[in-house]
C-alpha cells in the first residue's frame, strides 16, 4: 500500500512539475495544433512522433508529440556568446527548479533535478563531432545524469 501511494504521489508530482516546463511559447502538454500556430511560417520537418522546428528564436527545437500533445522537447542553439547564455539560463532555471544538482561551469554542463524530472543544460562540442550547440531541454528519453556526466 505504501509502495502504491509512493508511486501515485510520485507520478502526480511529475505531472504537476512537467506541466510547468516551457521555453518561450512552447510548453509541455500544449496541443500539436497550438504548437503549429506558435511556429507558423518557420521551417519544420515532421515524422509521426517528432517535429524539428528551425529558426525558433535563433534556435532549433526538437519536439516529441504523444497523442497530439507535446510530451518532450529540447532546444538547441548556436550563439555568438555561449558563456553569457549559459549563465543566463542557469539563473533562469535556478529560479524555477532550485539549485542545480550538478554544475560544471568550465565544461558548460548543468543538471537540474526536481520531483523526478531532469533538465539538462550543456554546450556540447563533442558528441556531434562538428556542430557546436547548446542543448537545453526537458527530456524523458535523451537526458539523464549519466548522459550529462559522461557525454
Amino acid at each position: 500500500m505504501k509502495k502504491m501511494l509512493f508511486v501515485v504521489s510520485f507520478a502526480f508530482s511529475v505531472f504537476l512539475t512537467a506541466d510547468d516546463f516551457s521555453y518561450r511559447g512552447i510548453f509541455l502538454g500544449m496541443s500539436k495544433i497550438d504548437l503549429l500556430k506558435e511556429v507558423n511560417g518557420l521551417p519544420f520537418i515532421e515524422t509521426s512522433d517528432k517535429i524539428v522546428i528551425g529558426n525558433y528564436h535563433d534556435s532549433s527545437v526538437l519536439v516529441s508529440v504523444d497523442g497530439n500533445k507535446v510530451s518532450d522537447f529540447t532546444i538547441k542553439t548556436d550563439l555568438a556568446n555561449d558563456k553569457n547564455e549559459f549563465i543566463r539560463l542557469i539563473a533562469e532555471l535556478s529560479a524555477k527548479y532550485g539549485k542545480p544538482s550538478y554544475l560544471d561551469s568550465k565544461k558548460y554542463k548543468a543538471l537540474f533535478a526536481k520531483d523526478g524530472i531532469f533538465i539538462s543544460l550543456r554546450i556540447n562540442k563533442k558528441s556531434s563531432g562538428f556542430t557546436k550547440f547548446m542543448g537545453f531541454g526537458y527530456s524523458k528519453e535523451c537526458y539523464s545524469i549519466k548522459n550529462v556526466l559522461e557525454d
Binding site: 509521426s48 524539428v52 526538437l62 516529441s64 556531434s128
Partner: protein, 88 residues
C-alpha cells in the same frame, strides 16, 4: 520492431545525425513511402540521440540498424528493406 503490424522506420533526429543528412533523408523516406504506397505498411518515427553519433547518421528499419547513411543511399536502403512490398 513492429507497431500495429506496421514496420517501424526510426530515423535519428539528434542534432548530429540530423544536420549531417537525416534532415534530407526523412523527406526522401516520406517520398518513397508515398511513391510506393507504403503508408499502410510502415510508420515513420523519429528518435533522439542514442549516443552513436560517431557512427551516424543512423536509422533503423524494423530490427535492422543502418549507420553512416546518406540521402543518396536512402532509395537503395528502402528498396532492399521493402523489396517484397515494392513492385517496380
Amino acid at each position: 520492431m513492429e507497431s500495429d503490424n506496421k514496420t517501424v522506420i526510426s530515423v535519428c533526429m539528434g542534432s548530429s545525425c540530423f544536420s549531417r543528412g537525416n534532415n534530407e533523408s526523412i523527406e526522401l523516406i516520406k517520398k518513397y513511402i508515398s511513391d510506393y504506397n507504403l503508408s499502410g505498411k510502415v510508420i515513420l518515427k523519429g528518435n533522439l540521440c542514442h549516443g552513436n553519433c560517431s557512427l551516424g547518421p543512423n536509422m533503423s528499419i524494423g530490427d535492422d540498424m543502418y549507420q553512416g547513411i546518406l540521402p543518396e543511399n536512402i532509395y537503395d536502403i528502402m528498396n532492399s528493406a521493402f523489396s517484397s512490398e515494392v513492385k517496380e
